[in-house]
């Protein structure tokens, strides 16, 4: 299992992701600086969270035009797996690897808290295959622009193609603000057409130890690694 974590100026969740992947795979992922477009073939590339390039212009917009992006696209066309978390999700969207847009949170608040996610009935993918449809995962979010927006036709298409992987959900009716950002259809994560790319706003690497308050993130990342190893 060869994995790599991409680092841009302003990435700040890269170390946590490296710790998580090392814990699961027993090997340290390689660090890929954003200017690199020549690195060994990998099984998994993670685009971590942060505030790349100060979130100037639009979140992820400048990072999405970095040299490393064309290598990520090549990796995807070889059938490689990519996980984008938070700002990483924003970057994948800005790079047009995933469709739609992530706009300002509805209530204008930077939201940093645990969310309940519900596994959706979606296409075959390495990230959630070990989970049951409707299973709940507790994974925290920390973002200002996580409000998933897509034109109606695109939302319909994503639904029909089974590309909505995770939705914010309430485990009981008392949870009123279960959707932390006003996302359309409560979307928290979407897949590429082949299911090998997942973009998600919640941070699985921040839920890998009981001291974090939960280990559902570890479950998701472990599932992904196990599926890739086969």
């Amino acid at each position: 299992m060869r994995s790599g974590v991409v680092i841009f100026p302003g990435s700040n969740c890269d170390r946590d992701m490296i710790v998580a992947l090392r814990q699961i795979t027993g090997k340290t992922p390689i660090k890929i600086w954003h200017k690199e477009n020549d690195f060994p073939n990998l099984d998994l590339i993670v685009v971590p969270g942060g505030f790349t390039f100060g979130d100037y212009l639009r979140c992820g917009a400048l990072a999405a035009r970095s040299p490393v992006i064309s290598s990520i696209k090549n990796h995807i066309s070889r059938g490689g797996t990519v996980l984008g978390v938070c700002n990483g999700f924003q970057i994948l969207i800005e790079a047009k690897i995933l469709p739609g847009s992530l706009i300002r949170n509805k209530k204008l608040l930077f939201t940093c808290r645990e969310t309940t996610l519900e596994v959706q009935n979606c296409i075959k993918n390495p990230f959630l295959s070990g989970f049951k449809i409707g299973e709940y995962l507790k994974i925290p979010v920390a973002h200002n622009e996580g409000n998933y927006f897509a034109p109606k036709e695109l939302l319909k298409q994503l639904k029909e193609e089974g590309r909505i992987a995770l939705k914010y959900s309430k485990q009981n009716n008392s949870e009123k603000n279960y959707n932390p950002n006003g996302s359309s259809d409560d979307i928290a994560g979407i897949l590429s057409t082949n299911g090998r790319v997942l973009g998600m706003m919640p941070h699985p690497e921040r839920a890998i130890n009981y001291l974090h308050g939960g280990t559902d993130g570890l479950k998701l990342l472990t599932n992904c690694v196990e599926q890739i190893i086969g």
Binding site: L57, R58, A61, R65, E94, P99, G100, S101, I103, R104, N105, K106, K107, L108, N147, F149, A150, P151, G182
Partner: protein, 81 residues
Amino acid sequence: MKVIVNISLKEGVLDPEGQAIKSSLNNLGFEHCSDVRTGKQIILNLDQNSEDEVLTKAKKMCEELLVNTVIENYEINILKD
């Protein structure tokens, strides 16, 4: 040649910043203000002489980086001295 790019949110795209500004204006007594939409302006200096060429280049810049056409509209104007 100086080029001004005005970027605005498409209709139907939520503008929480505009909403916050609107409610603040209403609180100040501007009750007649029923909607606020925000946007941004980018001013470019392009080393080119022909207006056509400048417009073509600016349009390409908008499509490739400056504008997210999923949620934003844009307008390009050449600034005349």
